[in-house]
């Protein structure tokens, strides 16, 4: 691991360790979404099994948007972002460090949320439960990699906080579909999730590569 990447990652992790802003707000927000969905749909029995995967993914998605906006907004204060732009280091490493940090935060939120989720929806995993450990990180990576990229893009516009979900969600939709379908088929055990896992993997590879290649263009746009 290169030292630039490690420096950025350590800095982000240290800030989060001291403030715990992102994780706390995401956790509470995701919890709220889960409760809101439970009240709206009154999930019981088989129906709960059917919608639980979707609710988990959507809750993660909404929650992470707030944190992703903050990820770059933090850098604007004290002109940190300008300093990063002037630094003779590749933007791709900065980007990757941010993605890794946010990936970690969102994953922590998911792990913390999972027991609450199992209890509130009375879930019983009918398929192979270990596959969830593959599907959720793949989906989260798709969300966080694209989200970090588009947050950096949206931060340059007039109404930055508003723009991120507007441009992130349409691009993320295919991955959300894959994530929800895979999670649901694992929870219900009705169908084979592998097609969706492959699709998610392909999506991750394509969009991470393009993000890495184009990040400098966005970061240095003037």
């Amino acid at each position: 691991m290169s030292s630039t990447l490690w420096t950025h990652l350590a800095k982000d992790l240290r800030i989060e360790w001291r403030s715990k802003d992102a994780i706390n707000s995401m956790l509470f927000f995701a919890l709220l979404v889960v409760v809101l969905f439970s009240i709206s749909f009154d999930p019981r029995g088989a129906f709960a099994q059917q919608i639980a995967g979707g609710v988990l993914c959507v809750a993660t998605m909404f929650a992470s948007v707030s944190a992703l906006n903050q990820a770059w907004a933090r850098e604007i204060r004290h002109q940190v972002m300008d300093a990063q732009r002037m630094a003779p280091a590749s933007g791709a490493e900065l980007f990757l460090a941010k993605v890794l940090a946010n990936f970690l935060f969102v994953s922590i939120v998911q792990v913390a949320l999972a027991p609450v989720f199992l209890v509130m929806y009375n879930l019983r995993v009918a398929g192979q439960a270990w596959l969830l450990a593959l599907v959720l990180p793949l989906g989260t990576w798709a969300l966080v990699a694209n989200g970090t990229f588009f947050a950096a893009l949206a931060i340059r516009s007039r109404n930055r906080e508003l723009l991120l979900p507007l441009i992130l969600f349409p691009i993320f939709l295919p991955a959300l579909l894959g994530m929800v379908q895979a999670t649901t088929s694992i929870l219900t055990g009705d169908s084979d999730p592998w097609l969706w896992i492959k699709m998610l993997t392909g999506y991750d590879i394509i969009f991470t590569t393009v993000s890495l290649l184009l990040f400098d263009v966005v970061f240095h746009a003037e």
Binding site: F150, L153, R156, S157, R158, N159, L162, L163, L166, I167, F169, P170, I171, L173, P174, L177, L195, M199, Y203, I206, F207, V210, L214, V217, V218, A221, E222
Partner: protein, 236 residues
Amino acid sequence: MKKVLLTLFPLVTVLLMVQGYHQAIYVAPDDAMQGYVFRIIYYHVPSASVAFLFFFISLIGSVGFLAFRRSSPNRAQIADAWALAGAEVGVVFCTVVLTTGPLWGRRAWGIWWTWDARLTTTLVLWLIYVSYLLLRRFAAGPQMQTLAAVLGIFGALDVPIVYMSNRWWRTQHPAPVFGGDQDSGMKDPTMVHALLWNMLAWFCWGMLVLFLRYQVERRHQQYAAIEAREALEASA
């Protein structure tokens, strides 16, 4: 020469549209299964192909902008105008597809909409390019063009996922008319002719609108450049 072409092309387009309408409504026979309502295909399929083509033009424009933005600003501006025109007119044609589709689906399948792979992904594509247009509105100045070009490339990356999804996933939507398997597509040559006429007519119409939109955007850019220069001279 250019002027002659500019007056001739709209005329030819209108004639083609008349011919396309005639073929679609009067010449082509009713479908054996679906009857009269099947004729909506002559508007649905051409609009879809034109929309996809224009999103592709938008991609080329976006790539061109990023490639030329340092070396040749003028070419970059031309590329950006194509990118915008392609996305905007593409969204219009995509809207036509998403409107004619449910109208047809209601009669043919009995439902307005189904969350089938190709329908969903066309809708996703529409959403992506609407978000592209929103970004262009929200961001300002030359950096907006760069950001939009990047988003344009991301949006276009979804297009192959959109199209291939038709073959990857089980789907309610019929197999493509051209390049499907042996049992799919049209068997009656008059139907194929009518479809080809309409493809041509809607393609020409689309190109006409695209070109006009491109010209408007170029004028807009030139005006912005003049304004910027005047502001600079006034402050000097």
